[in-house]
Symmetry: C2
Subunit: 217 residues, 2 copies
């Protein structure tokens, strides 16, 4: 698959790393072309010996060829970016990884109760484009290597389009992660609540953002 | 501690089993005195050789001596029971383990978004009594033995009274579980959301109610 990742931060790096591990083609889109180019260079430099990862920084229009467009940016930015892309997203599925946490208080979400960032992006910014919520319950650190305590990270996946959910599950699974399809996009409410809880307890439990939520069976 | 458990179902049995493993005194209160007496008999019968568990069925007034009163009943029943006990709860902490899930649809909660069963019990049924949300993210099956994949179950604990949270953490820890203090009672919103998510995916992921949510570090 062609996976376009919007953003050049820690989550972009980790998802790109997993995507390259799964031998997908990665395109990086950043507001700063230099940052995107630098991240592409770093990803090539950290590739396993012998691997020739197909990764490069790209301009925004590159989303047109993508199977998946991952919004690895804060929620308000993702909302704006999705709206800006508009028709260019036709044929792609949009992956919202955001956590609309009130970072000033770390005591709640900035989306009203009873909805989710993912549902608002789908309704307001990308009508007609399949939106999938995924990766938001993973922290960037553990996601980079893909494991915690030797176990593959769970990637909880919610979306109303089955084919789009399947593509995201393929991305996660081929990258060494454990995809879990949790159903319709409205389950993003619970996924965002879970990630908020996980964030809110980091300092209190001394977890240092290196923990991962797993459903053990 | 004296742990009074209201209810005689699967969660009552599992919490009583963990409490007895922690060498606490257990009192069982049921609407049917026979059911409570039967459960007390079963708990004595399944005690390890040599152990003399202090467990018996009790009448409602027994809550007056309890350190912890665990509402191991459905949310509407717990709300009514807490209100009925009233002043008898003075000196105890009330533990709400409920999941106010809409079981007809398994698609949401019956409490309005932006609140929680625990907060409503605290505000409406037990003003002045410290209320703690705990055990709701554990299923009865794994909780009975206390482990999943050899790891102690996480018990996420929320409440506004630090001493009450500490007592619940002591109950969980002494019973072989892993208590995690997640902070104020309003975090019950996220704990109830998490348990709902975990329930909602059981059939879809073929998990058979034997799974457990862990924060792996």
């Amino acid at each position: 698959m062609i996976v376009t990742i919007v953003g050049t931060g820690a989550m972009a790096r980790s998802i790109a790393t997993r995507a390259l591990a799964g031998e997908h083609v990665v395109r990086l889109v950043g507001r700063s072309p230099e940052k995107a180019a630098n991240l592409a260079d770093q990803l090539r430099a950290t590739a396993p010996p012998g691997a020739t990862p197909d990764v490069r920084a790209s301009d925004a229009i590159a989303v047109e060829d993508a199977d998946l467009v991952v919004l690895a940016v804060p929620y308000p930015t993702g909302l704006a970016v999705a709206a800006e892309y508009g028709a260019a997203l036709a044929g792609s599925a949009l992956v919202d990884i955001s956590n609309p946490v009130d970072f000033a208080t770390l005591d709640g979400l900035v989306v009203p109760a009873g909805t989710s960032a993912a549902e608002r992006i789908a309704a307001e910014a990308a009508p007609g484009v399949p939106v999938v919520k995924a990766f938001n319950t993973c922290f960037a650190g553990p996601l980079l290597g893909g494991k915690v305590q030797g176990l593959p990270l769970d990637v909880l996946i919610a979306g109303d389009d089955e084919d789009a959910r399947r593509k995201v599950a393929e991305l996660a699974g081929s990258g060494g992660l454990n995809p879990l399809d949790v159903g319709p996009l409205r389950r993003a409410r619970e996924l965002e609540s879970l990630a908020f809880l996980h964030m809110a307890v980091q300092e209190r439990l001394g977890l240092n953002w290196s923990s991962a939520v797993k459903i053990l069976t």
